[in-house]
Symmetry: C3
Subunit: 357 residues, 3 copies
């Protein structure tokens, strides 16, 4: 399936070169091309991680796991679309815990009456999301109340909070890979990850990793250029496209892995993929983008997301904490998360653009 | 007691016919008349439910359990009092989890050092309340920020969210009555419900159900007509009357059942009544009213509750989730819930009318 | 250490008399003088408590445990600095659950892989904090939306809520000292508190208590007088000084006790000190100050804290509830709490004064 979808890569490039004014077509082709590339990137990362010993492997996964989101966001930032960057970050955080986790719990719950997982690991990740949410709420509140009186404060506040989030993320890696890795081990009797054999050679994995990264960077430039005109053509807002469409693209691979793990009753793995991705976006990708914005040129990006985006993260994190805190899941929990995702989607769908960011 | 209170039914009708300008008297008589009627309606529903087999019975309870609230709200809606409808919905949600559950935990806790209940069932209902709260927050935020730019969006958003809530409620019934009914079974050794014998005949139950429904509809018209002038006469705001007085009337029956169950140490039943009623109002009664408003005539009702009402629900749901999530209760938990109810009551008491809805 | 620091007491008085215009020096000397006095006050209270039998002792601890905060706040109130009072109350609530508890969990977690504590006791205190947070949110919301139409309402609302909070606090004492004291007992095999022998005589304890109280009252007058000019001189806002500097002073003693208890793996005691202090400030000190403001002269103080302060409490309580609800702690939990404290600190650091209170 992933291999087959690679045909969209040349297709996207071809359409961009030959019919760039067909924005919707460009957008669709680029969007569909991103999915298999993200899949290959993820698989190469995993292969490298497996061959690298536990610690380095975990680090690799934790750093490149959301490389696709990062590359797309960098493209959007270079194009000056800070609002799209922020929307896609929020879409990625919210999508992983509501759509991916919801779908996984639903799919797993349809097969199994009740599924168990390590509540401590889930809670520690949920708490990291709460921490990240607080790190979004305060700059937004600052921006609303204080920024007019202290215009430079917001940028400095965003910078320091970003550094702090990266520090916390680093400490979380120490926690999950070194001092408390037993919490994240899951069931030791579980069958190993499906594509464990045959292993790619390390060289091949590195080659795939490099190629996929370059291609994603290229395609994401095409994608980002087509977002606004396509949204316009579809009658959708940039915000909706950013939160719900762009964000889903980079997560497609996580999506299928989390669901497949849940169906095999490996809920620890499923939660680690879904909540872990949200944690990674919130505590690693977002602050890296703030730091990167100082080098990419143009105005540096701050952490002051619009009220609606912050509210979305807050509500999603709130219900995820409630759903994932007790170490058990069933199909209704999946339905509840998906319902919140749909409600958020409806609210954004009916929101026209020209919001104050 | 209930039987005796039925004298208020003819009394209310008499006062309305003979001394309609005595608004306070009309209001009091109608309010006191609703209580026994709601009790009879509830008892008839239960009797029918018991005779109908588990699945259909559960469905009956879940549908007619808050029939009184629904009928009062329909009367208020027909009178164009959307604000009273919304206030009484919020009052009913908040009252069931703070006042009814708080009183039950307090009464139970005064008799028993510590009481146990199924935490999974309580958590799944608390999560439904969080979901419903999100479904109230987003239209309110939309109404505050977006609605001026997209005037039709609010109505469409309310309609779709209502349909989604009804779908989730339906799925919750499947969950609690079919796939996971064991979670809600409570202690199998517990004595059966008190009025199990002698059973009314099905015909009698249907007759009572019909009569009570008709009478409630009649009395609620009288009640609704007297709300505004009575509130004025008492120096209370419509909002206070809606949230704290009207809402308590329809819940009087639940109130006594939940307390009596708690005192008999049947906390699973007590929570099912209290939290379950809130869930029912939020996920069934409220969306049904939005849909009904398209047929009743006048302007359709939206889901954009005023900020104060949404805040009340949010705070009540937040503390209920914290209190009811660990499978044990004691008297202090009851005190905590009641204290929040009192604080909310004080805030509304000191709030004069003419709030932007 | 504490004894040695007492030299700052005469130093503070000397600087105030001889060089009162050296505001920063006055502030520093007074701040450093408060720490050992608060320590002696705490120790004398404990000694009296131990000699008084369990019930009375618990009551003494619960009443005088935050005497320092109370005295500083009374001084600030007499000086008309309601904003500093409110800021230091919030700083004390937030500091105890984020800084003190965070440092304790971190220090304990660096020694012990995982530490256990009674989740029920922690949850009941966390719920009290949620209750107190609700008691702060509603007057703030009232002040923002309603107060212009009902100017007297805010004062009355604050008064009634304060009385209610004191009642709940009293009931909590009954709960923790009488009906459910077993929940708060901790490990019965734990070694007794370190300074159990040699006991001071009751007379000596009373003498220390009295002297320390008088001295704290004196020094806190000096401290309060120097806050605004020192803040100005340091380029800090009054708000930052109130929330993060004044608040830390009175808590220094709790700070070291909570950390030392955690390192000895006595997490129940550590949580009781940290969360318990926050509960005491929120449910006892704050309402007592509101009541006291009627007698101290000037405008009575209300409970309408500024939006930023209320938000800080809400976020701190939210994450504390999540962190402390499952009966286990490790070093990452400590890091998470400290990170939130730092983020709050950054936000206040970059906030200049002249905020609407």
């Amino acid at each position: 399936m992933l291999t087959w979808m690679l045909v969209f890569v040349p297709a996207a490039i071809a359409v961009e070169l030959l019919a760039a004014e067909q924005h919707l077509l460009v957008f669709l082709a680029a969007a569909l091309a991103i999915v298999p590339l993200a899949g290959w990137l993820g698989r190469a990362t995993e292969q490298l991680a497996e061959r690298s010993g536990e610690g380095v492997g975990g680090l690799l996964n934790a750093t490149f796991g959301n490389a696709t989101e990062l590359i797309i966001a960098l493209s959007a930032m270079r194009a000056g679309l800070h609002d799209v960057v922020k929307a896609s970050l929020v879409g990625s955080i919210v999508g992983n815990i509501l759509l991916v986790l919801g779908a996984a719990m639903l799919a797993g719950g349809l097969r199994h009456q009740e599924q168990q997982y390590n509540a401590s690991a889930a809670r520690s990740q949920a708490t990291l999301l709460t921490l990240a949410t607080i790190a979004l709420i305060l700059p937004a509140a600052y921006s609303a109340v204080v920024a007019s009186r202290a215009p430079d404060g917001l940028q400095a506040l965003s910078l320091y909070i970003s550094l702090l989030l990266l520090l916390v993320y680093g400490l979380f890696l120490v926690y999950s890979l070194v001092t408390h890795k037993n919490l994240f081990a899951g069931d030791p009797n579980a069958p190993h990850t499906p594509h464990a054999t045959p292993l790619w050679s390390k060289a091949k994995a590195l080659l795939v990793l490099g190629t996929a990264t370059v291609m994603i960077a290229w395609i994401s430039e095409i994608l980002v250029g087509a977002i606004e005109p396509s949204a316009h053509q579809l009658g959708l807002s940039n915000l909706f496209v950013g939160v719900f469409i762009v964000a889903i693209l980079g997560n497609a691979a996580e999506h299928s892995s989390a669901i497949s793990a849940a169906m095999k009753n490996r809920m620890d793995l499923s939660l680690a993929i879904a909540i872990g991705s949200s944690v990674q976006v919130a505590l690693f990708v977002a602050p890296v983008l703030v730091l990167a914005s100082y080098f990419v040129g143009g105005v540096p990006m701050d952490l002051a997301f619009s009220g609606g985006l912050v509210l979305s993260v807050l509500l999603a994190v709130l219900i995820t904490g409630q759903v994932a805190g007790d170490g058990r899941s069933d199909w209704l929990k999946g339905v509840q998360l998906l319902a919140v995702y749909l409600i958020l989607g409806l609210a954004y769908f009916f929101t026209p653009d020209v919001l104050p960011s």
